[in-house]
Amino acid sequence: MPSQVLTGGRIRERRTALGMKQADLARAVGISAPYLNLIEHNKRKIGGKLLIELARALRVDMTTLTEGAGASVLAGLRDAASTFAEQDAELARIDDFVARFPGWAAVLAESKTRLDRLERSVETLTDRLTHDPMLSTSLHDVLSTVTAIRSTASILVEPEDIDPNWQKRFQANIYEDAIRLAESTQSLVAHLDDMESPDASANNPQEEMDAFLKRHDYHFNDLEHGRVAPEEIVAGDSTKISDAARGLILRHLRRYISDAVLVPLADVRTAIAEVGLNPSVLAQRFGVAAPVILRRIASLPAEIIGADVGLVIADASGALTFRRVATGFPVPLFGAGCPLWPLYQAVSRPMIPITADIEIASRSKHRFLAYAFANLRHDEGFDGPHSVESTMLILPESLVPLTSSTPQTVGITCRICPRNDCAARREGSILSET
């Protein structure tokens, strides 16, 4: 029986079935909530790209929205029949089947859809496993280190006497390899986490921006001196950049310019030479808010800073919107970082500067001084919602004196953190049992 409900009604039905708010769906597809309301009440025609976007956001086939579930099930069954042609399904009786067993028909059609989706995921992941040079190198590192440990350990456990000097040497080798193995495993797991989602290709806008900024070492000398516009820098980049990434990059570069105007390069060079790399003192000296100086330090050329610094920016949801990775302090590409990061503590204490001597929970025990500050933004005026943006600068111990005898231990992200007893853990670690 054909459904009498129109497309708008089906969108509304599906949205409420998913427990989704109108505003959330509207935001997901880039339209206003009032406009979605009109669509849902069939007061606006819908089709083309918007319909595709809505179907994607509602996780259904487009035909489910336009023609009702029956049509979608029929299409799914026909697709299944053609895929498994050797089963010789009774296509002539497909309408009869759907009418008599609508539930089973829907299960079969949905199973085929999921099978297709899983096959695509497997294909994508297999392709990455085969062609990803980073993965290949990481696996090679892990296996080579395991080989060295196995061979060396076998020598040490043999009943034959070994010269004490050789014995010491092999013990040192095993220790060295164990550290290396822990590090390469962490790096491998972080990489696997990054590629967990087949859709999360290296070309998503955020990654494109990360790669763009890295190519420029996070410093734009021509912008410092006002010689070029941000658009020219993006246009002059040799890599193809998507429109979405271009938007993110331009927003970053515009903020870069305003930071550079407030804290000019020549002046900050002099200031750092005089007072050192102390964000609090520098912010006071330039009369700027803490986030400006934190961002500014992370955008200075290596000749001024002298080492690799990190910077992460998160919104109130914890999502990382900017990543500059310091050596020894990896930042997850997907999901949030360690809840113990000062970055997140700052969100709960906005407008209060936080400094923390931190140590990464790994065998390598890298130590850093982290400066975090969360500021409130009122982009929509007094009546609009305010937003929080938290910024954390990560300075390695080679740049700043660390005097604390008890640094705070933090992880990278729960999934690859070895601290089983952490009260802030939100999910199990795949390293916890190793």
Partner: protein, 122 residues
Amino acid sequence: MDKHVLLIEDEPNIIEAIRFILSRDGWRVECHSDGQSAMEAVRKKMPHVVILDVMLPNRSGYDILSDMRADGATKDLPVLMLTARGQTKDREMAERLGVSKFMTKPFSNAEVLKTMRELVDA
């Protein structure tokens, strides 16, 4: 007989372990870590057996094996290839190029010794 092996591998601790077990077994072990100059080292040393890692700095073990088989002086030298990639296609590639034995990391010392004895006795 003075059994002579050239170990072409870039992992220092693997080199150390293999060198130890083979030396103890009566082998004279010489090592080389760079892919680019490995072929030159093989020609110069002319060992009884070559142990060759696949992933080396500057040049792959496959390229070196290919050069060895194309060179009249080294074409018959027994080669034990070590690799972290145990996929069938890697093994097939090595066999196509003329490898004598193929071993996937992580391997045991006993396997290495056994294979080396087989190669030198062959």
